[in-house]
């Protein structure tokens, strides 16, 4: 069966590092939310884990951007902001589609689809907020006013709710959903079947196969 490369190795490694650190952050962060988890906080050691994970969560992508392929990194960022008419169509068709309805009404999608774009955008914005407020809470206690700390806590929590909720959707669609059988594998092995690529990311498949043909020619 013909396969198409979807994610380079470095991208996959980056994804999993960020994913793992995010999970640690989310769980240790949740200890602060849930009284019944307090015993698991281990007298504050969860806080240490949170800080270590936060450093990884922030620093690894930064290093990727700095020492990786600049244009590819920018390409990722651009993806989040490239919106068009098809995205509107996607929103109309998606509810039925994801509840197992007729796939033919879905407009063709690029390298990532509209939903993924939305998630990606949330990741970027929420991470920026989490980073900024996190740094304030971590390093600026006693330096900035109590109000700044207080509202940082508020925003940090708010950003986490947004990101956390979206993460659940992301996890379900990429790992569990029957419509996306090759999604998880693609992030592990880097490849999807041509058929899958064509049906799920039509525009991208057309473009990449055109590129490939051009190269071969």
């Amino acid at each position: 069966m013909q396969e198409v490369e979807r994610y380079k190795l470095s991208t996959r490694v980056l994804h999993w590092i960020v994913a793992a650190s995010f999970l640690v952050l989310a769980i240790t962060g949740l200890f602060l939310f849930a009284p019944w988890f307090s015993a698991a906080a281990w007298w504050g050691w969860s806080g240490v884990a949170h800080r270590v994970a936060a450093a990884i969560f922030v620093l690894v992508p930064v290093l990727f951007v700095l020492f990786g392929n600049w244009s590819r990194s920018m390409g990722f960022v651009k993806e989040a902001f490239a919106w068009g008419k098809d995205d509107v169509e996607w929103f109309k068709a998606a509810p039925d589609y994801y509840f197992g309805g007729d796939p033919s009404r879905m407009p063709p999608q690029g390298h990532i689809n509209t939903g993924q774009k939305l998630y990606w955008l949330t990741v970027l914005v929420a991470s920026a907020i989490l980073l900024a407020t996190g740094v304030i809470m971590w390093f600026f206690k006693g330096i900035v006013t109590a109000e700044v700390i207080q509202w940082s806590i508020f925003l940090h929590s708010l950003a986490f709710i947004g990101l956390g909720v979206f993460f659940l959707v992301h996890f379900q669609l990429s790992a569990l959903h029957p419509r996306m059988p090759e999604s998880l594998g693609s992030m592990i092995w880097g490849k999807v079947s041509a058929k899958y690529a064509q049906s799920h990311h039509g525009k991208w498949y057309d473009r990449t196969s055109a590129d490939q043909e051009a190269q071969e020619a």
Partner: protein
């Protein structure tokens, strides 16, 4: 029946017996201090120092006045720390004051950030965030519970000039108002209505600011927002989405199987 401590600044002589006995009863360590050009020490409250006396020199009538103030947990009714504490480690005792259960504390430090009086203190590493938080427990620390055993708090017990009294809050408010009326002038009773009522009441000869107390302390809107918006929002959003996703999964699976069967 809510209990409280009445601190009468007109009777306090800053002997600091309360500071020492608090450490003795609650088994707190001495801190390393140095003389910083003042009688005051340690520098501030800390997990090892739950009460300290403040000394203020202010000009008065061409001479000087030396004002003494008790600095310790005010045991608010509308308590920023209780509002902000995610785990219930800081909580309202049945008798009204703010107790603290070390066992439940995750060390997040939100109580430190949300106290309008900057009372709870975190002593730890800025880098790891690891550290101890502690504060006055109104002598209800587990194993050292004076109140539960029918005793008054240690500071009240030791106070030589009788500047501290312990009793039913209602009675102490009445007593405090009586003393303030007798003092006249700028005298005020601090804590009667502040933050819906403090469980440490202050008889002051002058305005609260003169004694370094905030005139109109408020729990930050951020604390309320955090407790009343973020917490429910978080659980609601998380719950709804998780539920929705579960339904989606079941429906999508079922329809896909049906579609395949139809094929």
């Amino acid at each position: 029946m809510a209990k409280a401590i009445l601190y009468d600044a007109t009777k306090c002589v800053a002997c600091r017996g309360c500071q020492v006995v608090c450490k003795q009863w609650n088994e707190l360590k001495a801190e390393f201090t140095e003389n910083r050009g003042s009688y005051e020490n340690p520098k501030d409250l800390s997990p090892e120092t739950w009460i300290k006396m403040e000394f203020r020199e202010i000009p008065r009538n061409g001479s000087v006045a030396w004002l003494f103030t008790r600095r310790a947990c005010m045991h608010c009714t509308d308590a920023g720390c209780v509002t902000a504490c995610p785990t219930g480690a800081v909580y309202h005792h049945d008798l009204g004051f703010v107790a603290y259960d070390k066992g439940k504390c995750t060390g997040c430090g939100y109580c430190v950030d949300f106290c309008p009086f900057e009372v709870p203190q975190l002593d730890g590493s800025r880098v790891t965030g690891l550290g101890r938080i502690d504060k006055c427990t109104f002598c209800t620390t587990h194993g050292l519970d004076r109140i539960g055993n029918g005793l008054e708090p240690a500071c009240v017990k030791t106070c030589p000039p009788g500047a501290l009294i312990y009793g039913d809050r209602g009675e102490l408010v009445a007593e405090g108002n009586k003393r303030v009326a007798a003092l006249g002038g700028n005298a005020t009773l601090y804590g009667e209505n502040e933050l819906d009522g403090l469980h440490v009441l202050y008889v002051l000869t002058d305005s609260p600011e003169t004694y370094g107390l905030p005139k109109d302390p408020k729990v930050s809107a951020a604390a309320t927002a955090w407790k009343d918006i973020i917490q429910p929002l978080g659980w609601a959003a998380g719950g709804l989405v998780a539920g929705g996703l579960l339904i989606n999964l079941i429906v999508a699976r079922a329809r896909q199987i049906r579609a395949e069967e139809e094929k």
